[in-house]
Each structure stands twice: as structure tokens, then as C-alpha cells.
């Protein structure tokens, strides 16, 4: 049976028009995307349809150096170099890290370990201070927020450039740069969870006459410790990845080996370093994720 037209209209309410925010957002999205991707002064010239063409017009010397897996001679020399990076005929040990790649790998781990430990240690008090609860005054909170936002807005490689200027090239600049980066990451994540803690223990500590510092240590720190430890481990993963970039600006680590082969146009060497680094990153990430799952 056919229903009367006005009855169905009543059953199906009119769809509300999109809000000005949605319309403006959509227009802004499209305009900004076109401006940034177009091939002109304000864009980078990204054309998804032309990408396959560029893919074919690749640089054959580089492709052959980086991954010429189908060539048997290339495979053989690749494996030789890989073996050469971790063995030394003069050394009594099976494994020797006294090669450009081996030393770079060890230095990368050392930089990441030092930066993570020092940075996380500094980040704990800083993140407590970065909340309304810990700062205990709106002026001090504003100062702390401004400081942390500044630290956070500088990318790790820019820190590395700065510290290379201040302490000259070497691993020390890398350690300092990643320490600042660790502080940025851990303070941001940890101060977010401090805002959500249970206030009961804090009130109990204050009622028992604890000083501000004692209240923070006994009532806040135990509550945030699992999260904080997990964030620090996460920062370690990020630091290990970040340490590859440091070498390009002279701040130590495996990036130095990458930069060395890169500047000599030895793409096979670059490929070996990148492969070794990738294995290290993936192994550490798997381990770190397993530990973090247990922590939280």
C-alpha cells in the first residue's frame, strides 16, 4: 500500500546542513593540499600520476649499488662486506666490532643509552613541575610550559647542529642533542598522565604534614612510575632511530658511516650500513615493546 507523501516526510527528518566549521575545514584542506603539492613557488611539485614515470627514470648507478639483489656478484661482495664489518682476521674473537660500521653501531647504542638515562632522569621532576599540581603556582606553571614547549619545538637534528657548534663534532654533541629530545618526549607524555592521577594519596600525604616535595615523591611518583618507565623505553627506541641522523651533521653514531659512504658515492657501502642499522632498530623495538606490554 502506498503511504501518503507527507507521512513519509515526517518519518524522515530533514538532514541538518553542514556546519560552517565543516565547510571551511573542507575548503581549507583542499586549498592547502593543492598549494603544497602543486609544482610552483609555494609547492613541492608532487604529482602522484607522474611518480611511476619517475620510478622508471631512476638513477641506475644508485639502484645497482643500493639493491642489485638479482646480480650474483653483487650479492657475494655484499655478504663479504657484511662479514667484514663484524669480523677481523687479526682478532682472536669470533665477533669483532672494530670496523667503521661496527664502531658506528656501538656508538649509536651508547649515545642512545646515555641520552635516554640522563634525559629521563631530568624529565621526571620537569614533568611534575609541568602540571598544575606540581608547579603549585600559575606563574611557575606558565614558565615551565613555555620552556618545555620551546624544547619540544626544536627537532633533534637541530639540537645536534647547535651542540656541534657548542662542543664541536663527536659523540658528546649527539648525547646532548638526544638528551634534549628525550626530555621533550618524556615530559610531554608523563605530564599528561599526572593530570589524570588519583588525588587521594596526595591529600593523605598533605594531611599527614608532608612538604610539597615529599608529597610529590610519595604520592605522585609511585602512581606515574609504570607509565613513566614505559615512556622512557619508548624514548630509547626513538633515540636509537634518531641517532642515525646525528652522524650526518657530525654528532657521532652510525650516521657517520652512512655519510662516509654516501659522500664517496659508494652506494653498496650505504646499503650495508642501512641494512645493519635496520636490523638493530627492529630487534630493539621488538624487545622494548615486549617489556612495555609487561610494564603497563
Amino acid at each position: 500500500m502506498q503511504r501518503p507523501a507527507d507521512a513519509s516526510r515526517r518519518a524522515w527528518p530533514k538532514k541538518p546542513p553542514p556546519t560552517p566549521f565543516a565547510v571551511g575545514g573542507l575548503i581549507g584542506l583542499v586549498v592547502f593540499s593543492l598549494v603544497t603539492s602543486w609544482d610552483w613557488i609555494l609547492g613541492i611539485g608532487f604529482n602522484p600520476l607522474a611518480l611511476p614515470g619517475e620510478f622508471r627514470d631512476s638513477n641506475p648507478a644508485m639502484v645497482e649499488g643500493l639493491y642489485n639483489v638479482t646480480d650474483a656478484a653483487w650479492r657475494e661482495s655484499y655478504v663479504d662486506r657484511l662479514r667484514g664489518a663484524f669480523t677481523d682476521p687479526d682478532s682472536p674473537w669470533v665477533l669483532s666490532l672494530d670496523s667503521r660500521i661496527g664502531r658506528g653501531l656501538v656508538e649509536t647504542v651508547q649515545i642512545a643509552v646515555l641520552a635516554t638515562i640522563v634525559g629521563s632522569a631530568l624529565a621526571l621532576p620537569m614533568s611534575i613541575y609541568n602540571t598544575r599540581l606540581g608547579a603549585a603556582s600559575s606563574t611557575r606553571l606558565a614558565i615551565s610550559k613555555a620552556l618545555n614547549n620551546t624544547i619540544r619545538s626544536i627537532p633533534d637534528v637541530i639540537w645536534a647542529v647547535l651542540f656541534v657548534v657548542l662542543v664541536s663534532t663527536g659523540a658528546l654533541a649527539g648525547v646532548l642533542a638526544l638528551t634534549m629530545f628525550t626530555i621533550a618526549v618524556v615530559v610531554k607524555l608523563t605530564s599528561d598522565i599526572i593530570d589524570g592521577i588519583d588525588m587521594g594519596p596526595v591529600e593523605a600525604a598533605r594531611a599527614a604534614g608532608a612538604s610539597h616535595a615529599a608529597a610529590m615523591r610519595t604520592a605522585v611518583v609511585p602512581q606515574i612510575l609504570p607509565g613513566y618507565a614505559s615512556f622512557s623505553l619508548y624514548a630509547f627506541e626513538l633515540n636509537l632511530r634518531g641517532a642515525a641522523v646525528l652522524g650526518f651533521v657530525g654528532a657521532g653514531g652510525i650516521g657517520q658511516a652512512m655519510d662516509f659512504y654516501w659522500s664517496r658515492l659508494d652506494f653498496e657501502g650505504v646499503s650495508v650500513v642501512v641494512f645493519v642499522f635496520l636490523v638493530l632498530v627492529i630487534v630493539v623495538e621488538r624487545a622494548s615493546i615486549a617489556v612495555r606490554k609487561r610494564l603497563v
Binding site: 613541492i44 619517475e54 650526518f248 623495538e285
Partner: protein, 295 residues
């Protein structure tokens, strides 16, 4: 003042304040961390004595920055920063467009369990590879230019965007999906009317957040010489152009903070809806409650 405790008092004290148990886990972690720290600090080839020079060198550096300060390079610094922002935006777009269909194939409450397992592993692989490795891998094909950076970061963004958006989809309420199924909707209808309206605000907010992260990453990839503020600053530092270093740093800090601030406000607006609407909804709900009581 002091007097000896009676045995009863001692028992009471022990009951009130039990002895701290020996925390084996805590000790193991502390010792391991101390050992790792000591090994790294002692064997690393870092000249620790240079730490003492930092105050003096900072003072000199600041002096040079102020002495050479000029607004001359402002335009090229801003151009370089804009290029970084453009790279980050295009990379986010690539990540969004490719990860969007994958989100639903990676959520257990929407897709088949085996499909989810495979897609999740692919996303994890994209996430695990550092951006700089991807950039080096793409340079032979696209050359030393911003497009390479955008593609490398885009591929890397697919992993994080896909995984975290899938977690959002897995956290939604099943009710609307079941309602669509009950009224005869297919798989796509279920996604469109049952999943998207719930998950979309958070997913869109996460896209914006990824854009903020990508701005920093694009500065980092600049060290390879593929453009943006990273290339600008590393070259300025290599040549001791202090006017460019100072201005470049200022531009990075100010522009990053401005974009972070704007993006954070947009994200809040997307997730919370228009200002005041929440209160209106609560009021309306309260009114319904009252009128319901009356009847």
C-alpha cells in the same frame, strides 16, 4: 626523652609499619641501568671535558648571534620552513589516503581475523623502518628533492596512522553496527553508517597530530640535502653563517609552536564539537528527562 619500648609497643609498631619487602625486580633494573650507563659513559669516544666549555662557548655563540643578527635572510628562512611544512602536509596526505582503507582491514571488529593479522604485520613493518632509511631507499628513484622526503615520510605515516586509527575503530560501540546489520545493510553500509560516524572525529584529530610530527621529521630529513629548514640550518652551521643560524632557529621555534597551537585547537574542536553544544545537549537531555517524568 628516650625510653625503651615495651614489647607490646614494638609489636604494635611493626604491625602499623610493616618491614619493606625486598624488591628484586627494582634492584635488577637499577643494577642493569647503572651497568649500561657506566659502560656507555666510560667506553664512548666522547670528550667529557668539553662539557665544562659549554657555558663559555654558549656565551660566545650568543654573542655572535647577536652581533651578526639581521633580518636579511628572513625571507629565505621562511621559504625553507614553508618547504618543510609543505613536505609534511603532502606526506600526511599520502599516509592518510593509503592508510584509510587499511584501517578497516586492520580492525578485528570489522574485518576477518586473518586479514587483520596480515594487514597489522604490514603496518608494523612500515612503522619499524626509520624515515631516514626510507628516504635513502627512495633517493635513487625520485632524486634529491622534496618529493622523495614526502614519499618516504608518507610511507612511514601509513604505519602509525593505520595502527592507531585501527585501535580507535576497535574501541567503538557495537550498537550502531548491529543496527545497520539488522536493517539489512551490507559490509560497506556497516562501515559508512555504523563505524565512521563514531570513529571519524578521533581519526581526523589523529591525522592533524601526525602532521605536527611530520613537520619535525621533515626538518630531520633535511640533513640529506633534500630541502626544507633542516637543509637550510645544517648548511648555515657548516659555513658559520650566524645570522642564518639565529634567524633559522627563531623561525623553527615560532612556526612550529604556532602550528602546534592551531592544530591542538582544531583537534579539540573536532573531538568536542562546537563550543557550547555539549551544554545545550545536556540541557536538552535534562528537559527530556523532566518531561518524561511528568507523563
Amino acid at each position: 626523652m628516650t625510653r625503651t619500648e615495651t614489647p607490646a609497643e614494638e609489636r604494635l609498631r611493626e604491625q602499623l609499619r610493616p618491614e619493606k619487602p625486598f624488591a628484586r625486580f627494582r634492584w635488577t633494573v637499577t643494577i642493569l641501568l647503572a651497568a649500561a650507563f657506566a659502560w656507555s659513559a666510560l667506553t664512548i669516544d666522547a670528550r667529557w671535558d668539553r662539557l665544562a666549555q659549554i657555558p663559555e662557548r654558549t656565551w660566545n655563540f650568543l654573542g655572535l648571534l647577536i652581533q651578526d643578527a639581521s633580518l636579511g635572510p628572513l625571507v629565505i628562512a621562511l621559504e625553507a620552513m614553508w618547504e618543510s611544512v609543505a613536505i609534511a602536509w603532502v606526506a600526511t596526505l599520502i599516509g592518510v589516503v593509503i592508510s584509510f582503507p587499511l584501517i578497516f582491514l586492520a580492525s578485528v571488529n570489522v574485518a576477518n581475523r586473518w586479514v587483520v593479522l596480515v594487514v597489522r604485520q604490514v603496518l608494523n613493518l612500515f612503522r619499524a623502518i626509520p624515515e631516514i632509511v626510507l628516504a635513502i631507499a627512495f633517493i635513487p628513484f625520485f632524486g634529491l628533492n622534496p618529493v622523495t622526503a614526502a614519499v618516504a615520510m608518507g610511507v612511514s605515516s601509513i604505519g602509525t596512522l593505520g595502527k592507531l586509527s585501527a585501535e580507535i575503530v576497535e574501541g567503538i560501540d557495537r550498537g550502531p553496527m548491529e543496527a545497520v546489520a539488522a536493517s539489512g545493510g551490507g559490509w560497506l553500509a556497516k562501515l559508512r553508517w555504523g563505524v565512521l560516524p563514531q570513529a571519524m572525529p578521533e581519526i581526523a584529530a589523529f591525522w592533524l597530530y601526525r602532521f605536527e610530527i611530520n613537520i619535525r621529521v621533515s626538518a630531520v630529513l633535511g640533513v640529506l640535502g633534500i630541502g626544507g629548514i633542516g637543509t637550510f640550518l645544517t648548511q648555515a652551521a657548516q659555513r658559520n653563517y650566524y645570522d642564518r643560524i639565529g634567524l633559522g632557529l627563531l623561525v623553527v621555534i615560532v612556526v612550529t609552536m604556532l602550528i602546534d597551537g592551531a592544530s591542538a585547537r582544531l583537534r579539540r574542536r573536532i573531538i568536542n564539537g562546537p563550543p557550547g553544544e555539549l551544554d545545550q545537549k545536556r540541557e536538552a537531555a535534562a528537559r527530556v528527562q523532566i518531561s518524561g517524568d511528568e507523563t
